[in-house]
């Protein structure tokens, strides 16, 4: 009899614990979906929701504050997205806040990012419509990448043509690099410049000793000393 009672107790504890675990799990999942917390609803109109689904997160300042409650097509170019937002986040969400569709990482689910509005505006009310910004679609990004890669291909083609000309000694730079006569001429010009500079220095030394210019050079030295 005692054994039977013990077994019943064990069974009762086991069943109670398992059911408690189940209820806890359900509560935690429900809490994530804003089922057990006070919420308010806002909506946004988008042209393209890029695969957003009911149940996706709504994020404000990097914090999950709500979920997508409903998505409905209004016209052929507009889709209304209803969001359930945690009541605690209402005080930070102003009338001029903006909603944009983003994604959770590179491979993650789609979500709505709410960009905070300017300080001093009124809070969003229940069933308000929030301003939206059209997201940059993957197709747009791919088109831009295509244009950039086409430009890069043109640039490299031009660079290739220029280097080819240089190698063949065409143009001034090509001649400078590839033509030996030009190099010799440049060398000779440098020698001439050097010789000219030496001669000029001698002339200036001679001029400084000339009685006509001596006064000018002495005044210059005096000014230098007084400045020091």
């Amino acid at each position: 009899m005692q054994k039977t009672t013990g077994n019943k107790m064990k069974l009762g504890i086991f069943v109670t614990l398992s059911i408690s675990l189940f209820i806890l799990g359900i509560y935690l999942i429900g809490q994530r979906q804003q089922l057990f917390s006070s919420t308010f609803q806002i909506s946004g109109i988008f042209k393209d929701i890029s695969g957003l689904q009911v149940g996706n997160n709504v994020r404000f300042s990097g914090i999950n504050v709500g979920i997508i409650d409903n998505i409905k097509q209004i016209t052929d170019t507009t889709v209304q997205v209803d969001m359930l937002i945690d009541e605690n986040a209402r005080k930070f969400m102003k009338k001029n806040a903006k909603a944009i569709i983003g994604s959770d990482g590179l491979m993650g689910n789609k979500l709505i990012l709410i960009i905070p509005g300017a300080y001093g505006k009124a809070e969003l009310a229940d069933n308000d419509f929030i301003e939206t910004t059209q997201p940059v679609s993957m197709d747009d990004i791919l088109i831009k990448i295509k244009i950039a890669s086409d430009n890069a291909a043109n640039i490299t083609e031009n660079i290739s043509a220029i280097t080819q000309n240089i190698r063949e000694g065409k143009g001034t730079i090509g001649k400078l690099f590839m033509d030996s006569t030009m190099g010799e001429n440049v060398d000779q010009a440098l020698i001439n410049i050097k010789q000219g500079a030496g001669g000029f220095k001698q002339n200036m030394t001679a001029a400084s000793h000339n009685f006509l210019l001596k006064g000018y050079f002495k005044n210059k030295e005096k000014n230098k000393k007084s400045e020091k």
């Binding site: 077994n7 069974l11 086991f14 398992s18 359900i26 999942i29 994530r32 491979m107």
Partner: protein, 276 residues
């Protein structure tokens, strides 16, 4: 003349028997016969389950034996299941740089599929064989006949209580196994990484939804019912002496396991149909 006809008839009958014995007809015939008897058995269960008197004490006793006594085995299996799944999944996710998805991915796999199916298979192995062998030995030793003679309804006392217990105990075992598996996954994640308990379970419940949990739990009621129904049927209808006991236990496990996979396939199809 009449002797000639008798001989002809005998030859025809023998030929007929040989044909039915050696071709695919006999196994097919046996299968459908078995299905008919199983369906009759199931109908008898539904008829008896609503009819008083109710064997509540026997139901509690069977729940203890079927549920509580299976818990250690299910718990160990669950822990290893979560741990191994996490360790095996990590390299693949690491290739994509998505190791942070490990808790969510493992949780969805465990809750949706692996937890219910593996637990049901372990349950079929332990409980199914136990029920099959127990009822078969009772049948062989004529204990069931003795019960009938002494005015006790053996079907109600032996079959109904076991089927109800199994139907309600398997979901409870699956919930416990899932929780332990997730703990195993937490250990697995922390073998190579460093994820806090709070962060791990936050990531787990972030990705789980009601459509993951409820269909998975609902199907385990059917798994439990199927295991107990087949095991009771095999045991209750066993014959051929002691040889039949082993055969009943063996076929109870084999058919229960097969039925679990079939029911799982149907459940997955129905879930995906309704979640669209």
């Amino acid at each position: 003349m009449s002797i000639e006809i008798k001989v002809k008839d005998k030859v025809n009958k023998e030929a007929e028997n040989n044909f039915s014995e050696n071709s695919f007809v006999k196994p097919l015939k046996d299968f459908f016969e078995e299905m008919t008897l199983l369906t009759k058995f199931a109908f008898r269960f539904f008829k008896e389950v609503v009819k008083p008197p109710y064997e509540f004490n026997e139901f509690v006793k069977q729940s203890y034996l079927i549920g509580y006594k299976s818990f250690p085995l299910v718990a160990i299996t669950g822990l290893i299941m979560g741990l191994v799944l996490t360790i095996q999944s990590r390299p693949t996710l690491a290739q994509f740089g998505a190791e942070s998805w490990l808790p969510a991915m493992v949780a969805v796999s465990i809750v949706r599929e692996i937890g219910p199916v593996i637990t049901a298979l372990i349950f079929a192995g332990k409980v199914g064989s136990g029920i099959g062998a127990e009822l078969a030995s009772m049948k062989v030793t004529e204990q069931i006949d003795a019960m009938e003679v002494s005015g006790i309804n053996p079907f109600k006392y032996l079959v109904v209580t076991r089927i109800i217990s199994a139907t309600f105990m398997l979901p409870i075992l699956v919930v416990a196994a899932n929780a332990i598996s997730l703990y195993g996954a937490y250990i697995g994640v922390n073998i190579e990484g460093n994820v806090s308990f709070l962060l791990f379970f936050s990531q787990v419940f972030e990705k789980l939804s009601f459509t993951d949990v409820f269909p998975a739990i609902i199907k385990t009621f059917f798994f439990g019912f199927a295991v107990a129904l087949i095991s009771c049927y095999k045991g209750y209808n066993s014959n051929k002496g002691t040889e039949g006991v082993g055969k009943a236990a063996n076929s109870a496990v084999v058919f229960s396991s097969l039925l679990i996979f079939i029911l799982d396939m149907v459940a997955v199809q129905l879930t995906s149909l309704f979640s669209k």
